[in-house]
Amino acid sequence: MLEQDRKYEANTPQQTWFAKHRFSIIRHAVINLFMLIILLPLSWVLILSIKSLPDSMRGQFWPRKFDFTHYSYVFENIKTLGGNMTNSILVTGATVLLTTFFAVLAGYALVHLKPWGKTFVFTILLLSLYFPTRVVAIISIYELQDFLGLINVTSGLILPYITLNLAISVLIMRSVFQLVPHEVIESARLDGASVWGTLWFIGLPLARNGLVVVFIVNFVTAWGEFLLASTLINDQEARTMPVVLAAAQGGMGQWAWPRIAAVYIIVVTPGLIAFSFAQKLFFKGLAEGVVKG
């Protein structure tokens, strides 16, 4: 562990263990403080999900009485939960893959293929981030989806979802491809590789880190999207998780706090498991570094 530190401090062997490792200790202390800040609110939710109703309305962290029935309650009361979860996973997955694919193509083209009008395209993408599309976008999108016959079609959500972060994804890929030396691309082209081949075998591996970011940006938005999903889908079983859960938000009646907390845990867990599995793929690129030589 921490070879790097050892390398720098090896020239002072007379130092105590503590002095030798003090940077490392401070660093880990600070990191863990941040981790604690991230995890504390969530652990509070976890505890809340197993509190009895009266205890949930007291400030104490540790309940007087545990109540583990909230989870079964959620599944019994939202009968479509499994299906909604599947919908969310499919829609999110497709959105993330397609957006990333489109963003890679566009970002690569903007930087390394230098099309006519690239500054214009870049400017329009950037500007679009600041337009208050929310005012009427929902109505426009509704009309568009209606025209395409995609109202109440779960997979139809993928189309508007792709656009939610498309501009920012293209911009991210653009700035990542800017970090890839132009000469590398040029020499590959000179060696006779096709445009696709160059992108796939040369450009993409070098832009892995950007892919991770684009992946995450799109995952976060699509996984939590509420407004479009609620507007464009009519049937409860065709809806995605956030819409079904929104009903629980207000804490009305049956949706007492601990039960909402149970919903919470149910929503976060699959994502967490998915990321644990995907992390190898994700972070390998990060840890190794792109241009490590």
Partner: protein, 315 residues
Amino acid sequence: MDRGAEIIIPRSVGTAREPKIRQSISAWIFLIPALTFFVCYQVYPIFRIVWISFTDFEFLSTEPANWIGFGNYIEAYNDPLMWKSMGRAALFTVMFLPGTIIFPLILAILVDRVRHPLLATVYRLILLVPALIPSTLVFVLWKWMYNYQIGPINYMLVEVFNIFTYYNAPQWLGGTNLTLPSIAIMEIWWGLGYHAIFFLAGLASIPRDMLEAARLDGANEWRVFWHITLPRLAPIMMILVVLRFGTSMAVIDEYLIFGGFNRGAPTYTWTVYMYDQAFNIGLWRQGFAAAVGMIGAAVMVFFVAGLVYIFRPRG
């Protein structure tokens, strides 16, 4: 080995060696999928707003809309609430933006240097946990956290540390002066890990040899950070600043949830004003709301141009 140095060389060498037109066509083929979606779901709605903003369109009215030129713009320009609410959004941005860049940056630099594979993975996983929570549930969580009477924060302040009583404890959400900072903290928490991942991606693209070479040359950590790490992170940082500037000026769901439509509350920003006019009040004057939105967009674009200029690629 010295590819790091190559990267800093300006890309002036890249001249087209095939007919420009052909390259341009293949480039546009690459752009078409993204642009098709972009035009349908982004540009079309924007044009619609622009058009609506010049009419007296009311969504609930069954009368046809009339072209009224700059009428809505003049009304919005002369509306004190417009500028007051714009100021509130700017205030929030000032509270939120620095924190949401600096904390993840520090965190990323620290985590980047963790070499233990298991720890490095666990840290990165934890960073992503808040990002897995749908936004509506993030708001629910912090509504609980900040609850005046039974939220854990006030519980700690009152029952554990006895700093306050239940008669004078801080009132976080719901439209007090503490509400904007409270929302800023929530947003910073939400983006902490997520933005750190952005920076980790940027850090990973810095060749280790470059850093080590600098250190061997006797540069201290601060100089290494300032002269090597930071410039290399500039593109990522620009993306984040530009993106977050836009989102923080245009926050709306949080305000609707934590402040409602109370015009006296600091959460009643121009976006809420726009929403209020477009979907809540009277016959839903969407023409006027669109003009409010366009003015907001113009102000934001003005500042973004400045930000882009500050973070422009140098060298």
